[in-house]
Symmetry: D2
Subunit: 104 residues, 4 copies
């Protein structure tokens, strides 16, 4: 099973720039040892267990809580597929191959 989690979490009580807090979240994600990709709009993490992905979300909130955030917003997307492995790479490869075919 491949669980892909696209995930952004940030405080809404810390003003216009929240890169300090977002950096704490991403450091926590990196510390999990799970494969991840940083994007300009969030982070994508892959696991083979949904619970593992959701526990990571909870730990990321705890980091923001400890950093003094009073209000936190998060947006998550999950793509859970049985019988798939290495979904992060497989999905990209599949799309890239097909786009290539379209344009050639």
């Amino acid at each position: 099973m491949s669980v892909l989690l696209e995930f952004s979490m940030f405080p809404t009580d810390k003003g216009e720039s929240v890169s300090d807090q977002v950096s704490l979240v991403i450091a926590e994600i990196r510390g999990s040892g799970l494969p991840y990709r940083l994007t300009p709009m969030g982070t994508i993490v892959e696991t083979d267990q949904l619970g593992q992905a959701l526990e990571l979300v909870e730990r990321c909130y705890q980091v923001l809580d400890k950093a003094g955030c009073q209000r936190v917003y998060a947006s998550l997307k999950l793509d859970i597929r049985k019988g798939r492995s290495n979904g992060m790479q497989t999905k990209l490869d599949s799309i890239r191959k097909k786009i290539g075919e379209i344009t050639s």
Copy 2:
């Protein structure tokens, strides 16, 4: 603390109509005993612990897994606010009061 979770989860391998599967998810949410609101685009649940909200998400997936879904998509939004209680009602009341002021 008030945790508001807006949440939709559905299989993508079961064709155009997924109301059977969505009904299973909502029955699981209702069975949790947590306050919830059904909307045409998802369900909103309130808890005072983030972990409780995320465990519910996991149980909802397990229900779809048992129902034979091979691929499941979910979209979640979280609004976590310390020092707030009864956020589901408080937020609506606050907005409705202000909209009333704008139009009068």
Copy 3:
């Protein structure tokens, strides 16, 4: 065709409470004359043209821009279905009927 748009938009440079700004957005939605439902996590609007839904999103941003917001975040979900009408009510009715059957 029925286009359902679930939609939240708020500034992230205005501190912890943004109900003043969210009220402006909802007043704009109401002013559109489109059927809508207010929820604790966003607003759901129904149209029969995707362009109409997206123009409304743009007008809502313009309202926040005029109100002095420097940074705005929005989250949208779209469910676009051909051959459906009155999707907001139809979806809820379908789910409610099935949940009732499950519990009876």
Copy 4:
């Protein structure tokens, strides 16, 4: 102004694998000439006008409509910031720099 749009759109009436349809969407995005990044969970596009981003969303739907999709789901996140340019790169650079500082 920098408008970042994170965006996924797919049919839900075409079975478990939708990479054919997703490829059509991404070809349309690429054809727009706007800077974009492909991720395993969607595509990120940058413009300096919100309207331009939303028109692209509409064109992507039209592509799926022409390809015979009866039901389409989309999830969008917008980060709109005045006085920022090249937001896609700026945000990543800012986070990467801070993560480096945290771990060193």
